[in-house]
């Protein structure tokens, strides 16, 4: 079956511009996660959606970052007024329910010039 997909795979943007990253989770997975991975490092949690509950935004690094999810489907992560330190791979994962094994997409590599 189809796995988690993310688009675009690569994004180069100028400092100060807004970017929108998309994640399509595995069908039927109620939980969706966004992570940031800087070069050569581990995963940094950003935000978590579980069904129709209020999202856990505790990992968002600043108010320039926001995310939305429509029901149990697509999610978009938006970064406003991008900064060079936002350059990283942004990974999306989904799981059947709370804190179960996570299935990751291939990530979006964001480069802010």
């Amino acid at each position: 079956g189809a796995g988690v997909s993310q688009s675009p795979s690569n994004k180069v943007t100028e400092k100060g511009k807004d970017v929108e990253l998309r994640c399509d989770p595995i069908s039927g997975h109620t939980a969706l996660y966004w992570y940031r991975q800087r070069l050569g490092q581990g995963l940094e949690f950003l935000i978590y959606f579980q069904g129709n509950s209020a999202p856990d935004k505790s990992g968002l690094p600043s108010d320039r970052f926001s995310a939305e999810r429509t029901g149990e489907s697509v999610s978009t992560l938006t970064i406003q007024r991008t900064q060079q330190e936002d350059s990283a791979v942004y990974l999306c994962a989904s799981s059947p329910y709370y804190a179960d094994e996570q299935y990751f997409g291939p990530g979006t590599r964001l480069t802010v010039t």
């Binding site: 490092q41 581990g42 995963l43 949690f45 978590y48 505790s58 996570q102 990751f104 291939p106 990530g107």
Partner: protein
Amino acid sequence: TQLLEQSPQFLSIQEGENLTVYCNSSSVFSSLQWYRQEPGEGPVLLVTVVTGGEVKKLKRLTFQFGDARKDSSLHITAAQPGDTGLYLCAGNPNNAGNMLTFGGGTRLMVKP
């Protein structure tokens, strides 16, 4: 300081050698997971350990969960170039929120 500390951070070995990667914490985890990530891809789940003292084997990979459920190890026997990648441990501490916490990873390179 990360909740899950992995060591070593980097490991470069020759094909056929054995190695052990460690994942340690001062917190208790209800379960721990190990993932492998290859360049340009997302992490892929290898195993979940849930019982203190548990040992799981996956071909040449052996995973252990500490008795106190605060640490885990991954041992690879006779490493092969295909084992090259970033190994990540992850878990949900007993009193944490709703998400997994990941360690910083161990980057393994196996040279032929």
